[in-house]
Symmetry: C2
Subunit: 510 residues, 2 copies
């Protein structure tokens, strides 16, 4: 006999309301495969429509709101999250199986509140406006809020990229835009708890009630309608390439800016002189980067480039041993595991050989054996597109080039990535090779690293969590790093001969 | 008996070469309707393909080129244009019928060389890189060239927006990108002369020979293939909405940034208290703005908003009289005139009445009577989309609202524009009305003006020649104003833990 479960409410126009739902979904615990006993609505268009109308009003009100109030809200929200950290972390652990420590409690949540506070400081400081004043001609320009922003959060970060609390959210709010968050269904209850913290923070903040709104899930058609609605300003999306490209198409056709973070293989090149001395050490570093969080990071390396030789064989043996010797964490969902397996099968069909892994692990949790694939440089060059299919999870493919030139040719066929990295000898013995390949790699990645794994994205003003298509939708913007990430949610405004008293304070002469 | 005419050559990979042409076109003098006795090629894909391959190599070389050399080239080019100003101005006059003075010789050409020199200064200064250094974490970011840029110039500016000399060209080169210019067929010979000046300036500049390349015309399919080719970095386009949207679709699907300036109605609001005193003066100002260059400016007002009353009637009488009393310049081509007439017919079908004009003028030149249309606010509200069809030329439609509220409602239905302007009483008697409507207008335009016509786009660092869709493809960027316009042709690069000696000089510690 089942207990009747109440369907969660959506947060629209300042109220937690019953959704006009076309269905419900029930989240599952990835460690056990069992339902968590909660039910969330799949919103019909009418929920979106109501949220959009409220957001337009909120956007106008926010334009008249002092930045100090926006900053105050972001800071109060961070404090509310900390005050309810325990419940939020428990919910996220149940929904994602990501480790509580080190991760949810002591890394991701502090990172999230830190982002909110950095966004508050940026809102207060106002540098994101890039004010330019031409006094002689009385022309003034500045960046301004773009209007209601719809944020689609991903499955892999329940806090730091969540539509209602993450980097896109913080950046959009800092610029004075209302946010309509589309929570990720894989951490719906976590999102609800965070949105409740935002609800408390909004009270008494002096911001419009519809500054933040949240729904849980929509079907594809409704999602595409949402991102192309004339009432929105822009969209922030983090997720799969398949879903991202559908939304991009819809937004592009409507002329709406959409910022997407979609897929990345994060190539790491291990140069031969350094590899001789460091094969085992570097293999363990790579294994750490590939298996942390079961590789469910946008910056997890999916591609390792090496030149054939003894050191490469030692490296690959050590890497396979490290994979085999570690118990992988469960993946976020059964479909995450299915997609990982499908990708690995596709890579095998395209010519990659399995060194280790390539199979589900037994038990109730959605665990998958950490997988090392191997392919010759020549094979990679014969099917570069097929062999650059992202495998989201604990997998890496070693591309073993016959020589320097084949390595260069292979790097020249790389598609756009968030990151690219080169490990090389401290002695300088790899420097000539570095000089040849760095320009190729530089052009294909947003962040170029030396001697350091790409996982771990510091929230630094100098960070670029962006890159060429199809890693993102536009190579000029970053999703992490304040204030740069705010630029995505702004428009350029110019005032030409506008009377002094009618100018916004921040473009006046004083 | 005809003299054999040699088909002009295209400029690809450092050489003026015979085009692999699929056809030719022969430019016409718009003042006489007669052919100018010159012949230009319509390039097949093979011309584009060759240019793209050369551009990729040039892009890599430019990355290693000191900014000083790029600046030197831009300045030498400006000097070359001045040295050959007479021939260039004559060619442009023959091809466009735009006045020599004031316009081609003393306004547009000086503006063009000024832009090139401002771009040179920006290249030298390097502020466009927006360098951000996080020393503690050893993370550094900067903007960098995006790669080969294809520039499609418009019909209405033979110099200042020309693909081989205009604002997009200057901005793309300043950031270190090679440019493939698609000249506009309506000033093909002018473009050839300018490209020859660029050829001379490139010699001895130390820049790669394929830094600048030029073709004259391609068919739609080839154009779409060009903007979606994986070798390009970005596209700059100025032209019609129909052509722009086709290219946008192709570039979007390929994940290529495309910056478009497509269409704008540039609404001007005349508030009632001010209008009482200034009806005749403001009408003449509007007439000047609508008829200069026969209204063939992106910022020419196509929409005037007024509230019904005696002053509005006086204003419209004066405006009609000014239109009738001036001899219009020829339009740029017979198709420009046909399209203007088609737009006016479409506006009539949607409910607008002709006050004056609405017809071709006799004679060989492509002249069209300056046209004033009139529509009630209520009618505008009943067909806001149809009544916002751009009429590119010497036309304006007065939207006469019944009252304040109808005016606000009408402004609330405006689509995206480059500019929006409000004329109001100096006394402050219109200030309450201004306060209500300015937020509506602000959101729908890139540049907000007071008491000043939008035609005339100052090349100021504070300028915004951009705006919400469909005026442009992205509301965060400007096509005029250096260094801001350079941002369009850059990507964000980050260096994370990269060894000091491998960093570009501009992100090092010193």
């Amino acid at each position: 006999m089942q207990t009747a479960v109440e369907t969660a409410k959506v947060w629209i126009d300042g109220e937690w309301r019953e959704s006009d739902a076309e269905g419900v979904f029930e989240p599952v615990n990835p460690s056990t495969g069992e339902k968590l006993g909660r039910e969330f609505p799949v919103s019909r268009w009418s929920d979106c429509d109501r949220a959009l109308t409220a957001a337009v009003d909120a956007a106008y009100q926010l334009e008249q709101t002092p930045a100090e109030r926006i900053a105050g809200f972001l800071e109060t929200y961070a404090t509310e999250l900390e005050a309810h950290a325990e419940a939020i972390v428990v919910a996220a652990y149940e929904e994602t199986a990501l480790p509580v420590s080190p991760r949810l409690k002591d890394v991701e949540l502090p990172r999230t509140t830190n982002q909110l506070r950095q966004a508050a400081a940026a809102a207060r400081h106002g540098a994101w406006r890039r004010v330019t004043i031409d006094r002689e001609r009385n022309i003034r320009s500045c960046h301004a809020p773009i209007g209601p922003v719809v944020v689609f959060g991903p499955n892999n970060f329940p806090f730091a990229f969540n539509g209602v609390s993450g980097g896109d959210f913080a950046a959009a709010i800092a610029a004075g835009n209302p946010v309509i968050a589309k929570a990720h269904p894989l951490h719906a209850f976590t999102s609800q708890l965070m949105a409740e913290a935002a609800t408390r923070a909004l009270k008494g903040s002096g911001l419009p009630a519809a500054t933040v709104q949240m729904i849980y899930k929509v079907n594809h058609e409704t999602g595409e309608r949402l991102v192309s609605d004339e009432r929105i300003g822009a969209v922030g999306f983090t997720g799969s390439k398949a879903a991202g490209l559908k939304l991009k198409h819809a937004a592009d056709e409507a002329g709406k800016p959409i910022y997407l973070e979609m897929s990345s293989l994060n190539p790491v090149v291990f140069l031969p002189a350094g590899l001789k001395e460091n094969a085992e050490k570097w293999a363990r570093e790579l294994a750490d980067s590939c298996t942390a969080g079961s590789g469910q990071f946008c910056t997890r390396p999916n591609l390792a480039f090496l030149i054939a030789g003894d050191a490469t064989e030692r490296f690959l043996r050590e890497l396979a041993a490290a994979f085999d010797g570690r118990e992988p964490h469960p993946l976020l969902s059964s479909s995450t595991r299915e997609q990982l397996h499908e990708s690995i099968e596709a890579l095998k069909s395209a010519g990659a050989a399995v060194v280790t892994g390539g199979r589900n692990l037994p038990g109730n949790g959605h665990r998958y054996a950490s997988t090392l694939l191997r392919v010759a440089g020549k094979t990679f060059l014969s099917a570069p597109h097929e062999l650059q299919r992202e495998a989201f999870g604990n997998e890496v493919m070693a591309v073993v080039a016959a020589d320097d030139q084949e390595l260069l040719d292979a790097l020249g066929r790389l598609e756009g990535n968030l990151t690219g990295c080169v490990y090389s000898a401290a002695s300088g013995a790899d420097d000539a090779a570095y000089a040849r390949l760095a320009p190729l790699l530089r052009r294909r990645v947003g962040r170029l690293l030396n001697d350091k794994m790409p996982t771990g994205v510091a929230v630094s003003p100098a960070m670029n969590h962006g890159g060429p298509y199809p890693a993102t939708g536009h190579p000029g913007f970053t999703a992490v790093g304040i204030p740069a990430s705010i630029a995505r949610f702004t428009v350029l405004h110019c005032y030409d001969n506008v009377r002094e008293e009618r100018l916004p304070a921040f473009v006046r002469d004083v």
